[in-house]
Symmetry: C2
Subunit: 322 residues, 2 copies
């Protein structure tokens, strides 16, 4: 079926780098290349650069433009999937109201789809990673932001206006932290900056911790990764931070389970790399909040594709997997 | 298409009464009859009684069993839709592990489906009421319990194991009220008993209110309906109760909007009848918690079918509408 058009060109458009690859339908990468976002950050230059990269990669792989089955981009912001229109990429200057789908269609002969980066990652994990075979799954990424994507009845669910899955803004406290987007939104508690801020707040209260020396000398260097390092060698304040993160995250996972009853959550992003430090208290907190009829049927999988999830998801989009 | 089998037999199985009706595909009721749940509460007697009622109604409408297109039951509890198996009806003694679908198939020649009562109500509102034409909508019923049902991509969404939509157990406070099913579950704040309890708690603090006389003489007669009556004639404590309910409900509606981005919520049940008393503060609270990109595209509709929603939803199930 795919013999005439064996390859997908995927573009994982990040705030720091733009990763491009040619992929087959099994998730194999035939050729790849990246450039710094700053090198071609305006839309017109970006499209030219991406087109050139694609030509180079095709040549490298011994293929021609006729071998391209499609082009797919994952972009970090508000994207209208149906039209390929980018409303805004908050972390990339100059990207507001860009008809990227149309611009790319002028450069490529193959079909083009544009999705947001979290949907692309979710699709990658669904097609080739921890989500393989799941009909109903919720993907979360824990980082600076807390992103989400929903796989319902075997398909990415987009909602009425293509913006569903904003799990980071769902509330865990109706009288909680007020932000521009929510009151008590999950991201205000377990986004990287919030985790670091909570840790500094506790340290500022004079609590005993192996992090106190860092706090006095370079408080800004306290990150979730550093907290995890201290927790792993037994610092009790650092461990408490992860228990706090687990309780906040468990509240959301229990709510989403009651609402959508997925078979599994697939959790990616930096904080998810902390392993047992997060997942042991997470399960304990979920069981306090979720009836066994739901909890016993639920699985939680760490994401398995690492930094390539978004790129592979673009490939999956072209081959219409997931 | 439906000419050979023009009617559906629907059964709205409640804790107090069992309502039966013959309906056409337009939601028209051809004949109806109810009996008290206590008159035939055990499964075998219930099936016999329901079969007899159906025969009577067919005769009354001048029809025969061959005119039945199907039979559908909405039951108040945990139901496996796929198999018609009732796990448990918490408010109806004797209904645990009942293969109701199979029992009814022995009595009726037509196809049988069993669903939970909230799904049936949602389907009724979707097919014939406030939800008509909506592809993505979330139905809530506010009463003793807080129930929910999801219409996603034009269909009732059931989740991986047929138990999705339990919106009453989603959390609004990760450190909140602990119950058997949740920590900070919405129902613990805005279920009828919780609303009344909050009101009694505030009255017990000696706050001035036209409800104080009732509180001293018959505290158990304080219900959401009575609170609404006092709010409507200007009692400020009673109005504050509705503002509290609105804030709690808004937290959940904002979360569900971020997650699923429905076109609309359809809200039924007793508390929803309080009109502006609830809906004015509800919108104000939603706008504090939900980005305009979502809030501006959202509608909230009061349910329109009243007590017949479940029955009409059973009819819609037979005709496979919604």
């Amino acid at each position: 079926m795919t013999s005439h058009h064996p390859v997908a060109f995927g573009v994982d458009f990040g705030g720091t780098s733009v990763k491009c690859a040619l992929m087959n339908s099994s998730g194999g990468v035939l050729a790849r290349m990246s450039f710094a976002t700053s090198e071609a950050s305006r839309p017109s230059g970006w499209v030219t650069r991406v087109g050139d990269v694609c030509a180079d990669l095709l040549e490298e792989a011994g293929l021609t433009p006729r071998d391209l089955r499609g082009v797919s981009v994952g972009a970090p912001g508000f994207v209208d999937y149906a039209t390929g229109f980018i409303h805004e990429l908050p972390n990339v200057p100059g990207w507001k109201s860009v008809p990227l789908g149309n611009l790319l269609k002028q450069r490529f002969l193959a079909p083009v789809t544009i999705d947001n980066d979290v949907n692309a990652m979710a699709r990658g994990e669904l097609a080739y990673g921890s989500g393989r075979g799941l009909g109903n799954a919720v993907f979360l990424t824990l980082g600076t932001g807390v992103g989400g994507a929903l796989i319902l009845n075997g398909r990415l669910y987009r909602g009425a206006y293509s913006m569903a899955g904003e799990i980071g803004h769902t509330t865990i406290d109706y009288r909680g932290v007020q932000s521009a987007t929510s009151i008590g939104g999950l991201e205000e508690y377990i986004g990287n900056q919030s985790i670091s801020a909570t840790c500094r707040e506790w340290l500022g209260q004079g609590r005993s911790s192996s992090l106190q020396a860092v706090f006095r000398e370079a408080p800004e260097s306290i990150t979730p990764r550093l907290i995890a390092e201290h927790a792993n060698v037994g610092d009790s304040l650092a461990r408490e931070i992860f228990e706090h993160v687990a309780a906040c995250l468990a509240a959301t996972l229990a709510s989403v389970s009651y609402l959508l009853q997925p078979e599994a959550f697939v959790i990616g992003g930096g904080v998810a790399l902390s392993g047992e430090l997060l997942f042991v208290p997470l399960w304990r907190e979920i069981r306090r909040r979720l009836h066994p009829a739901f909890a016993d049927r639920l699985a939680i999988h760490p994401a398995s594709l690492g930094v390539d999830a978004g790129l592979l998801g673009c490939g999956a989009a072209v081959f219409e997997i997931g």
